[in-house]
Symmetry: C2
Subunit: 214 residues, 2 copies
């Protein structure tokens, strides 16, 4: 019988506890995302958006399921925001599913590009574009017993900002302008990088939904 190549997550850490402590990775933030424009023109819209996004400061890879950007947090956020805004059309219902993450014990130092400077490549072209978005978010702080406290912290910050719509099963619903949403995503990634060794932040954004009800 063919010998199978299994994965060994949780068995490589220096402590042997499966937690990944002892890992010595650079500060790589990643975002894996998929755009779903619900129109016959979906391929054209996605390809145009990808092409219009400046990605010189991130590592990127596109597959059949999603695109991934990896690098410094601010540059990853800048590229994801640009790709989403470039894909937006006034009359097309579209969703973007995005998974932001940092600190996975199974992560590798490669497949990344950590630009030295803080000059955002896309922000000047998109900063003044406004449209309403509906969004569901879920934060997963990994490896710690008191994870619910960190989730409460970021949800309460959304309440403070006035972008919180409601709590629902397995997610929190936000409703705001696209600029406010990406400012909030930046806040969450920054807060998590400071307070958590490994987190996943799931964000699904919807625009132009024909469903009016909340």
């Amino acid at each position: 019988m063919e010998k199978k190549e299994y994965v060994t997550y949780g068995q490589k850490g220096q402590c042997g506890c499966g937690c990944g402590c002892g890992s010595d990775l650079p500060a790589i933030t990643g975002c894996r995302f998929s755009l779903s424009p619900m129109t016959d023109r979906f391929a054209e819209i996605i390809l145009d958006a990808v092409k219009a996004t400046k990605t010189d400061k991130v590592w990127q890879e596109t597959g059949k399921l999603s695109t991934i950007y990896r690098g410094r947090q601010i540059h990853v956020e800048d590229a994801v925001k640009a790709c989403f805004i470039h894909a937006w059309r006034k009359d097309v219902h579209m969703t973007m599913e995005a998974t932001f993450s940092r600190g996975c014990p199974g992560d590798i130092a490669g497949d990344s590009f950590l630009a030295e400077d803080e000059v955002l490549l896309n922000e000047p072209a998109i900063r003044n574009i406004h449209f309403p978005v509906a969004c569901k978010i879920a934060l997963y702080p990994m490896g710690i017993p008191n994870y619910m406290e960190y989730i409460a912290e970021v949800v309460n910050h959304a309440i403070d900002l006035g972008i919180y719509e409601k709590s629902a099963h397995y997610c929190t619903v936000l409703s705001c302008d696209v600029q406010e949403l990406f400012d909030y995503i930046h806040y969450v990634n920054t807060y998590c990088a400071e307070h958590l060794s490994h987190y996943i932040f799931e964000v699904t954004i919807s625009v132009n939904s024909p469903t009016k009800e909340a």
Copy 2:
């Protein structure tokens, strides 16, 4: 100034540790999912699929961002599988983002329906429908330091089943028949219910992608 109503996740447990231990919830499995058929006919396809799915054994709610089913694990899985298969069209690129979860400390006993029996309402009509799917999965076992070991366990089971395509940043990619995929989802939910107090299992399924590359 208006007094804000904040959330208090992690402050209600009997132990005060924010972990939710001491909670006494029934065995509610939930799945929040969104279908994204990338065609001008998206609304018709989604509504037809929702209507064709028998949901008498789950609690359900549909909003502008997603639909949620809650109840006994097998009945939730049965309804989600049916809704996805009923939305499939031979020539339409579609994704489904689905979040399975159980054991959230912030969960409530309500908004659920725990059917007594094990008779699946949808399976007979869909068991013989076959088409290939591409899928990315991510498992988040919450509140424990050795979470990577549980992730490795379910990934290695996919390897054993021959449905594993590759590991990628922040997810695992599967490639198989739709029936095999939902059998695997059932295995993961069953394994997690037995071994974890709180988990989230994120699944994004794609059919008929025009992108050939993996």
